[in-house]
């Protein structure tokens, strides 16, 4: 046991704590509810939270850098509207549309990053107006929801890896996992990722250490913009439509997932792996509510809050205990 503790990196204790608690809660669900512990439910957990998770990966890097990106939800929705516009109104082929929307996401992110860096503006306000802008532009395209009928998107949405005869890992879950892996590699094995941690740790020092702080910051927001655009593509595959009002408040869920995953909002500390767990925990909490299925409407909200509280408290006690050991 002692040896095990020695080998564990102390910084990662909250991460392990998270993971263990996730498994515990999952087990709890399995005890309480029939069919909770099934492959299908697990695959659903990945699939249904994929777009949230993808934005959360971008958000993780932003928060590690000491910033915040409130535009992720709107950007995702704007992307769905763009795809709808390009595909259904302008009849462009997917091979043009998909790279185009990703590029727009990157540009949008860089624009915000640029404002934040060059004008030394608080990320909260810049990305909040980014949030208004992206939602607003979506409305300008159309107030109505637009079904996307192009065959490609339908076929893509049906694509997946057959796990068992009946259950398939859909493409969007695969994209989610891929983005998480990219996020992990980026944050841990590239200069860009490490510089992000440095900026979050102490931006002034990072400047004096000779890091290209401006460029990195812009890249961070560009990456987050790209993730949001990818999430938009995934959302299109999920619903085959574009809709300007979709998923109000995604940014908050995304921030919550990141922070629950152990990333500090003050910057400098965090893990993309943790965010994955954070996203799954949020999904799990909602699963509890649906499987319970008889909660009074308002009790559902209270129970979600209580579960969140319960989880956070577990996380705290667990990590302080382990750290003290």
């Amino acid at each position: 046991m002692k040896l095990l503790f020695k080998r564990i990196n102390r910084k990662k204790i909250p991460l392990y704590a998270n993971f263990i608690i996730f498994v515990l809660i999952y087990a709890l669900g399995a005890i309480f509810y029939r069919k909770f512990l099934s492959l299908r439910v697990f695959v659903n957990l990945l699939t249904d939270n994929s777009f949230l998770g993808i934005t959360a990966v971008g958000m993780t890097l932003v928060i590690i850098s000491g910033g915040i990106d409130l535009s992720v939800g709107s950007m995702m929705v704007f992307t769905t509207m763009l795809i709808a516009l390009f595909t259904e109104m302008l009849h462009l082929p997917p091979i043009v549309v998909l790279p185009a929307v990703v590029l727009i996401g990157v540009l949008f992110g860089s624009l915000m990053g640029g404002l934040i860096h060059f004008f030394n503006a608080p990320p909260f306000i810049v990305t909040l107006s980014g949030m208004f802008l992206a939602r607003g532009l979506g409305f300008v395209i159309s107030l109505d929801s637009i079904p996307i009928k192009h065959k490609f998107y339908y076929n893509a949405s049906q694509f997946g890896i057959q796990l068992t005869e009946k259950i398939r890992m859909p493409i969007i879950a695969i994209i989610f996992i891929a983005v998480v892996i990219i996020g992990i590699i980026l944050s841990h094995y590239t200069k860009f990722g490490r510089n992000t941690y440095a900026i979050g740790g102490n931006e002034q020092s990072a400047v004096l250490m000779g890091l290209p702080v401006g460029r990195i910051k812009i890249m961070i927001y560009a990456f987050s913009g790209m993730c949001s655009a990818l999430a938009g593509i995934v959302y299109v595959l999920y619903t085959l439509s574009g809709y300007g009002l979709a998923y109000m408040g995604l940014e908050l869920d995304s921030v919550a997932s990141v922070v629950i995953g152990g990333t500090l909002l003050t910057g400098g500390v965090g893990y993309v792996e943790g965010t994955l767990v954070g996203v799954l925990i949020q999904g799990l909490i909602y699963n509890f509510i649906t499987f319970q299925g008889n909660l009074n409407v308002w009790w559902a909200k209270i129970v979600i809050g209580l579960l969140l509280l319960f989880f956070i408290l577990m996380q705290r006690t667990f990590s302080t205990r382990t750290a003290a050991n």
Binding site: N9, K11, I185, H188, Y189, T190, K191, R194, N195, Y197, A198, G200, G201, N202, Q204, S205, A206, V207, L208, M209, G210, L211, P212, G268, V269
Partner: protein, 503 residues
Amino acid sequence: MITANPILAINRLCKDFPGVKALDNVDFFLRKGEIHALMGENGAGKSVLVKVLTGVYKRDKGKIYFEGKPFYVHSPKEAQECGISTVYQEINLVPNLSVAENIYLNRQPQIRGFIDWKATNKKAEKVLERLDLKLDVKQPLGSFSIAIQQMVAIGRALDLDAKVLILDEPTSSLNVKEVQQLFTIMRKLKSLGHSIIFITHFIDQVYEISDRITVLRNGMLVGEFLTDSIDRVELIAKLMGKKLAEFSSEQAEIEQGDENKQGIPFLEVQGLGKKGLIEPFDLRMYKREVLGLAGLLGSGRTEIANLIFGIDRADKGQILLNGKSVNISNPHDSLKFGFGLCPEDRKSEGIIEDLSIRENIILSLQVKKGCFKYIKRKIQEKLVSKYIDMLKIKTPDMEQAIKNLSGGNQQKVIVARWLASNPGLLIMDEPTRGIDVGAKAEIQKLILELSQKGMAILFISSELEEVIRCSQKVVVVRDKAKIAELTGTQINEHTIMNKIAVV
């Protein structure tokens, strides 16, 4: 004065801040292969010169030539790329990343575009080995003492292998051994043709290592001197702006009587300790007494201070105040008992950057009084100007944000904060760090005066000389344990060194 081909030539450089002429037509020349000391009182403009040179601040006027060509950089990054590597005065590294990363940030060895962590850690260990430092480079930098952080910062700068190396007060938190280690490396670099700008307040070190000295005062150039051709008294006169005749040793030694040290001590520490932090120790302190703590870097002096002040909670032992056991579980408690602690790390434990000098100074006194008894503005101002005068804090006015002060002046503000709170017991952990010669003498004098007036002072300093001069009793600490207590004539460099060194 201008010799042929200086690698760096600064011509009539000016830099203004609101209310301050930080640099006023300063000339400076650095030759190839020399170690050039830059000296001046706190707030003379040394750090600003470095920062303008490396692109942190924009210059207002003046020309800089680097290797004969006009030199204009916008950021430390560009300066680095041009071959100027700098260790700034405050440690500017990131505490949340590991030591190895701090050394190799943005230059990590890579395999196929991805960071090679093994190589990074190995190389970092090598770099630190040059400085004779052995530590787990995978641990976050923030978990180490500032001395170690300072060494890491030096390590990073050295490894950049630049043509010009700038060291802004690198030795203020290092002990003798480490300073020697650093000097060895500096000499080696010099022999390889690198040029070094070295900023320090230690006169001895300047004479030991530098070839030439440039002195600044109030943002203006006083002059450039060959180290061999200027003697100490003259140098100090230049630094302080006094004519040679006016300058006399103000360091009147105060008699160290051993009287009235019987009876119930003011403060008695019995077996106080915390597992993994410091072994249980005893201490007795009387009023009117300065107790010095001596020991090497990392020996546990700061731990002793923190444990008494309640920053860390002891798991063993007790503290008696005037013979009565008191329960101290946080700094708030100790403040109420009339303790004060002037912390070691001024950047993270001392200053509150955005607050003004006035607010920084009155803070502890205010907390002690309770937050509803707001000290009247007039009284605040009187108090603050008293300390500004007393400690010669150099600032246009007391409403200046503390972050705009020079490093040494920030330190003075923190000292002033604790003096203002008028404690019964004052713990000073490296209070003279980064402070110029004149002010250092002032502070030492002040410590003695305060103790005469009845204050008990626990004095920690890495400068043994200073500990010896001020203390009536010296406790020697080694490897996180108290090993000896010396009094009277035992207090001399030789005995203390022996205690520290002999295993």
